[in-house]
Amino acid sequence: MMLDNLVDITLLTMLMVHAFAIIYLRNLFAVIMLFGSFSFLSAGLFVVMDALDVAFTEAAVGAGISTVLMLGTLALTYRHTEDKQEKQPAHKPWLPLVVVCITGAMLIYGTSDIPDFGDPQAPAQQYVAPYYLEKSIPETGVPNVVTAVLASYRGFDTLGEVTVIFTAGIAVMLLIGGRRRSKNNNTTGSDHET
């Protein structure tokens, strides 16, 4: 228990340090790298909370793929902004700071109503969760409840998610896929390969 708390506090402190570093740094390459390590720390937190599947996804997608994609975006855009540096904002961010502080205070106030972590009386544990935990082995024979829920009980949702990913792929292909028109030859022409 003691060790759990220590790990939690360490991870959360490092998350905060990362968040402030991301805000203060102007070097976008460093910011992207910090985003990746932020995702890894979040994955660590999920592991501490026994949510291994979520941690897995966070590590693979948050720290892996999205870091690569953001680096790709940076490589595409840095010629237009000098030296991969983020521009200084034109005005002092006092109003956003006030808004963020008020929202944060409200959220922290809201946590007082949230049930304790792992509380069996919490509303989230009352509705269908006991059914899944009791019936998933006899009904599906799958030891991993997460897989049983995702693939079997909530198969429609997962089908929807796959369709969303597929649509995202199509959207990216339509937006930036294919060849780009060269700058010298600015005629409307074949800017998509087939």
């Binding site: 897995f56 996804t57 997608v61 892996g64 793929i65 595409l76 799958v142 897989t147 429609f156 292909m173």
Partner: protein, 143 residues
């Protein structure tokens, strides 16, 4: 990065392990953490690593864009098709119990098929997105 010897050697050693791990996550998702989505992402990172070290053009020769597009559609179709198959066998849509002789065996088969569909689809969509970014950068540098 084409001429970096250390990167080339290490990545050649790592890429098969990444693929192996992706397949493990894919087919072991019933028993441990993971599943089609994570497996697809891990599999695509193997190819992305290859593309980063050996160049996007070489990677595209391994897995050409039209194959990726077909695979992305095939994954979704495999998922939806499993649902249609269970309809045709007299069950409800995505009711896997009717796919095999017993309820549990049918569930196993159904979950295996749809996880495979998810994995294939996610893998190819991730690569499509990565190649779209990478190719755009390349043509801009070339012009």
């Amino acid at each position: 990065m084409k001429h970096n010897l250390i990167l080339r050697v290490i990545s050649k050693f790592l890429i098969p392990l990444i693929f192996l791990f992706a397949l493990y996550v894919q087919f072991h998702g019933d028993f441990g953490p993971g599943g089609g989505f994570q497996a697809g992402v891990i599999f695509s990172t193997g190819i992305i690593l290859y593309a980063l070290v050996f160049g996007v053009k070489t990677a595209k020769q391994i897995i050409p864009p039209f194959v990726l597009r077909s695979l992305a559609s095939f994954g979704v179709l495999l998922y939806a098709g499993t649902g249609v198959a269970s309809l045709l066998l007299g069950g409800k849509y995505l009711e896997y119990g009717v796919l095999a002789s017993t309820q549990v065996a049918g569930q196993h088969l159904g979950i295996l098929l749809i996880e495979l569909g998810v994995g294939i689809s996610v893998m190819s969509v991730m690569l499509i997105i990565f190649f779209a970014f990478a190719e755009r950068g390349q043509t801009e540098e070339g012009s």
